[in-house]
């Protein structure tokens, strides 16, 4: 019996013998290559009939589609529906010619820009050499017969490409800390690297904030002071103060010489700066609008980052379906690991996780009701304890702040007490939280980690809120001092003390622990780098930066320097003192969660600073807003001053800030969110439905193929009797009834009886 003529370019390499050898089909063109896929069927092809079935299988549209999908990438899949036959028809021809032909013969090809063609090329999974050949062929064919307008379009597109490439080159040479990141990733994997990448990202965000404040606020003030000598030098313009010289202690406390410099709000003038001709520079507007400007910028950057991250990691990786084994097997190995030790640990950790999960899977026991009740009571108690601790620390801060202002305390302690207390609370309480979590016995370490993070961030948020509340209510009532400068100094001290404590903790817990572990106590293990705690510290310091930049404009510069120093210190410490962790760190999900924390803290600081601007009275004798009832008053006065000149503008602003409009916008946004959520739920249900359908179709297909095999076998056996087979003899069979497949069986049976396979 001759094999049916196959037009798919594949042929048996040699006449195969019967038996249980696997039937092999080898691509005659290139042998086992990456562009022509080598196929080997695992059907145990015992005889000729199975080979026919296998050959039929090969020409199934879905199999064709898969091979083409992997070769050409998704974009060009629509080419192939029309050109399937011709693509596989050419045996012995270089496939790149076929691909180039397919690309140029498509009618839409002429419309495609250089960009899109490059995207397609980059997405193809053939070898680089064939890609170059295709590129060459495609570009040579494009050059024929294009009109003037299309040539102009190509020029524009090509220039845009060149521009994009040169920008990419510049960005590449400016890229910070690349070699350090590579070293860390090689030794520790993606988890620890995510901390350093987060640090780098925060560094990059702070740069525009710094540049904005420098350019619009600090520089004009500096120039004003130098050129107009008003105030002359840094002497405080009041009768009973002497010139304070710079001693080293100012770096720690932020007071003294620093108090009357551009570092703090109080130094800025409220005058109109007039340096060049008759261009006026209103410091009042500049200060406020710069503040609004960098908050808006940070909002845009944060919102886009969190949206991108959420979409990449939560939506495309849908959170509900938990492919545990698949993610272990296919995503388990971190390809960036280069050190032997890290590789050994990674292998071990994969093995331990799998065996733990397997052990847990086999011996899962249901908890008794009393055990569940007990656990619930324990968790209730621990949560109350946590809330109590947080409340207590908040009250402590408040009490301390109010006491310090009333009692006489020696100099250094009274300024440093609050920062030390706050930092101490932030260090000690998380340790207590850890102990409580151990009591709570969470099954998954992931849950424990998330709960710990939420508690720590709540603690930090509460202490900051208490402090800010104290400043705005109590401190601003004190008319003898410039309270904004004092607030700026407090935040400066918080930042510096936090920085010193970070360095101390790194030194003590990582460096000393390694010394002790290596030389004194052998049983103590070297520390692992605690990614969660360190990232939360970074978020906290960034919160302080955002909170304080209004009152201390150069704080962003200080935070930039702090971030650089922390990067190098942590990098050295991690390489020297830490070992890679055995537990995997889910960098992708955690990244979204950390961005979420950062965003919520950003919103808190915006609200806090906005409250300060709108509700709190500025001090009378310092700063750009002295003598006014509200800082925000300058804006309302500005808008009022426009009333005569630009009435339409005033009306628009009044309309937009009216409560009715805002309420309407909020309602519309709420409805839009609700609608999109309904759409998302509908999509999820659709996906589950389609998956079920797919499974059923797959089962159908298997069933039908088995039936086909049986039919072929029966035909072969019955061929000797030369009795024409009718379709009806099969339809009476019990096994014919299958959901959705009845007509197909009849057709196949009829076809097979006709052609006499």
């Amino acid at each position: 019996m001759d094999p049916p003529c196959d037009n798919d370019g594949y042929a048996p390499a040699s006449p195969r013998t019967e038996g249980d050898e696997e039937y092999e089909m080898v691509d005659r063109n290139n042998g086992p290559t990456s562009s022509g896929l080598r196929r080997r069927k695992t059907w145990s092809a015992q005889n000729e009939t199975d080979r026919e079935t296998a050959r039929l299988l090969e020409s199934l549209p879905s199999r064709q589609l898969e091979s083409l999908a992997t070769t050409l990438g998704k974009d060009t899949i629509h080419f192939k529906h029309r050109r399937m036959k011709s693509f596989h028809g050419g045996s012995g021809v270089d496939p790149s010619n076929e691909i180039a032909d397919a690309m140029t013969n498509d009618p839409q090809f002429a419309e495609k820009t250089e960009d899109e063609i490059e995207e397609m090329l980059k997405g193809m999974t053939t070898t680089l050499s064939s890609k170059r050949v295709i590129m060459h062929k495609v570009s040579s064919r494009r050059k024929r017969g294009v009109g003037r307008f299309t040539r102009f379009k190509y020029n524009v597109a090509m220039n845009w490409q060149h521009f994009k490439y040169s920008v990419a080159e510049v960005m590449y040479s400016l890229e910070l800390w690349k070699s350090h990141l590579k070293l860390i990733e090689g030794h520790f994997g993606t988890g620890v690297t995510s901390y350093f990448l987060f640090l780098k990202w925060l560094f990059l965000i702070n740069i525009p904030v710094f540049l904005l404040t420098l350019g619009f606020v600090v520089l004009p003030q500096v120039l004003y002071r130098w050129l107009k000598q008003d105030p002359p030098g840094y002497i405080e313009p009041s009768e009973n103060s002497t010139y304070v010289s710079f001693t080293g202690i100012e770096l720690l406390t932020g007071q003294g010489w620093f108090e009357n410099t551009e570092l703090y709000y109080g130094f800025y003038t409220n005058r109109t700066i007039n340096l060049i001709g008759n261009h006026n520079y209103e410091m009042k507007y500049a200060y406020l609008f710069t503040c609004g400007g960098y908050y808006l910028l940070c909002l845009i950057i944060l919102a886009t980052s969190i949206l991108q991250s959420y979409r990449k990691y939560y939506i495309e990786g849908s959170g509900d379906i938990n492919f545990y084994y698949i993610s272990k097997v296919f995503n388990g190995w971190d390809y960036g690991i280069t050190s032997v030790e890290a590789a050994r640990l990674k292998h071990k950790s994969l093995f331990l996780e799998l065996s733990e999960y397997l052990a847990g899977f086999k011996g899962k026991k249901e908890k008794t009701l009393s055990a569940k009740c007990q656990l619930f009571m324990i968790r209730l108690c621990t949560n109350i304890a946590v809330l109590g601790l947080i409340g207590a620390s908040g009250y402590l801060i408040y009490y301390l702040s109010s006491i310090i202002r009333r009692i006489e305390i020696p100099y250094l302690i009274d300024v440093l007490a609050i920062p030390l207390c706050i930092t101490g609370v932030h260090l000690i309480l998380p340790i207590l939280f850890h102990l409580l979590e151990r009591l709570e016995c969470y099954v998954k370490p992931k849950t424990e980690l998330y709960i710990h993070m939420i508690r720590t961030m709540t603690l930090k948020g509460v202490t900051l809120i208490v402090l800010v509340n104290f400043w705005f209510t109590e401190l601003s009532k004190d008319s003898t001092l410039c309270w904004e400068t004092y607030v700026g100094e407090e935040i400066y001290r918080l930042v510096i003390v936090d920085f010193i404590f970070t360095l101390l903790v790194t030194f003590l817990f990582e460096f000393m622990r390694r010394i002790v572990a290596n030389y004194c106590i052998k049983s103590l293990s070297v520390a692992e780098f605690n990614i969660g705690r360190n990232t939360m510290d970074l978020i906290y310091s960034q919160t302080l930066c955002w909170l304080g930049t209004f009152y201390c404009p150069l704080l962003s510069c200080i935070v930039l320097i702090k971030l650089v120093i922390i990067f190098y210190v942590k990098r050295v410490s991690v390489i020297q003192n830490c070992q890679p962790s055995m537990r995997p760190w889910r960098a992708a999900r955690s990244h979204t969660i950390f961005l979420g924390f950062l965003f919520s803290f950003f919103l808190l600081t915006t609200v806090a600073v906005a409250c300060g601007i709108i509700f709190v009275e500025p001090s009378d004798n310092c700063g750009p807003y002295k003598g006014q009832n509200q800082t925000y008053q300058v804006v309302t006065e500005l808008i009022d001053s426009w009333k005569d000149d630009y009435t339409w503008l005033t009306y628009t602003i009044e309309f937009i800030s009216s409560p009715g409009f805002i309420a309407a916008v909020v309602i519309i946004l709420g409805m839009g969110t609700y609608y999109l959520r309904l759409v998302m739920i509908g999509h999820k249900q659709m996906v589950t439905l389609l998956e079920q359908q797919l499974t059923l179709e797959g089962k159908d297909k298997n069933f039908l193929l088995k039936l086909l095999q049986d039919v072929n076998k029966k035909n072969k056996d019955k061929k000797k009797t030369s009795r024409p087979l009718t379709a009806t003899s099969y339809l009476s069979d019990d096994t014919v009834t299958s959901p959705g497949g009845r007509t197909f069986i009849r057709q196949v049976a009829e076809a097979s009886s006709r052609t006499g396979l």
Binding site: G31, P32, T33, S34, L37, R38, K41, T42, E66, S67, T70, E118, L121, K122, G123, T125, T127, L128, S129, K131, R132, M135, Y165, E169, Y172, L181, K182, E185, G186, T190, E316, G317, I321, F323, Y324, I326, S327, V329, F330, N331, G332, W333, D334, Y335, G336, T338, S339, A343, F351, L354, S355, L358, A587, A588, R589, E691, T695, G698, K699, N702
Partner: protein, 189 residues
């Protein structure tokens, strides 16, 4: 500053830039790494056909720091080599790092990771492929029973049409759901 040897012509660099996810400087950097692997074999001047013709054997490539600890290093070299035996020309080498770099989109990474895990090259991940993958990952420490159990579980999770193998479409369906894939399938050069 002395005589500057041009490694690649402008056209070559432009073609590389268009076909990979690298910029020019990165391409030259990758070339430097390639040449350091075997300075005798690789000339400085690659303006002719050398980038396709001259190939480094797979054991030289596998000694690279980026690949030496990777359990799939031999499979990676085989997938990216033109004839399947693991020896890489510079074109293949550049292609390999371009796929692994950060700018490569998910589709192409999924396609190549499928090929890497497909040990027998039949464009299906059957049980033997999955067993070999698992053994490479855990360095043979799991027992045969456990390996079989895990492989069955993987097929249960991913095999939609129940044929006992993972086709590319099924693989892509589950990998696109895994958020860490882009992070782990990434080699810095």
């Amino acid at each position: 500053m002395g005589n500057k040897v041009t490694t690649f012509t402008e056209d070559q660099l432009e073609a590389y830039q268009d076909c990979t996810f690298f910029t020019r400087k990165e391409i030259l950097r990758v070339f430097k790494r390639y040449q350091e692997l075997s300075p005798d074999l690789i000339p400085f001047n690659m303006t002719g056909d050398e980038s396709r013709k001259i190939k480094l054997p797979s054991d030289v490539i596998e000694q690279m720091a980026e690949l030496s600890e990777n359990p799939f290093k031999s499979r990676i070299c085989q997938v990216f080599s033109e004839d399947g035996n693991g020896s890489l020309s510079f074109d293949d080498f550049l292609d390999m790092f371009s796929v692994f770099c950060e700018a490569a989109p998910r589709d192409i990474k999924t396609a190549y990771s499928f090929r890497i895990y497909d040990f027998d090259g039949d464009s299906y991940l059957n049980k033997e492929d999955l067993e070999k993958t698992l053994k490479n990952l855990t360095r043979d420490e799991l027992t045969t029973d456990e390996v079989n159990f895990v492989v069955d579980k993987v097929l249960e999770e991913a095999d939609l049409d129940d044929d006992g193998m993972l086709s590319y479409i099924e693989f892509e369906h589950v990998i696109s759901r895994a958020p860490d894939f882009l992070n782990t399938f990434h080699i810095r050069i």
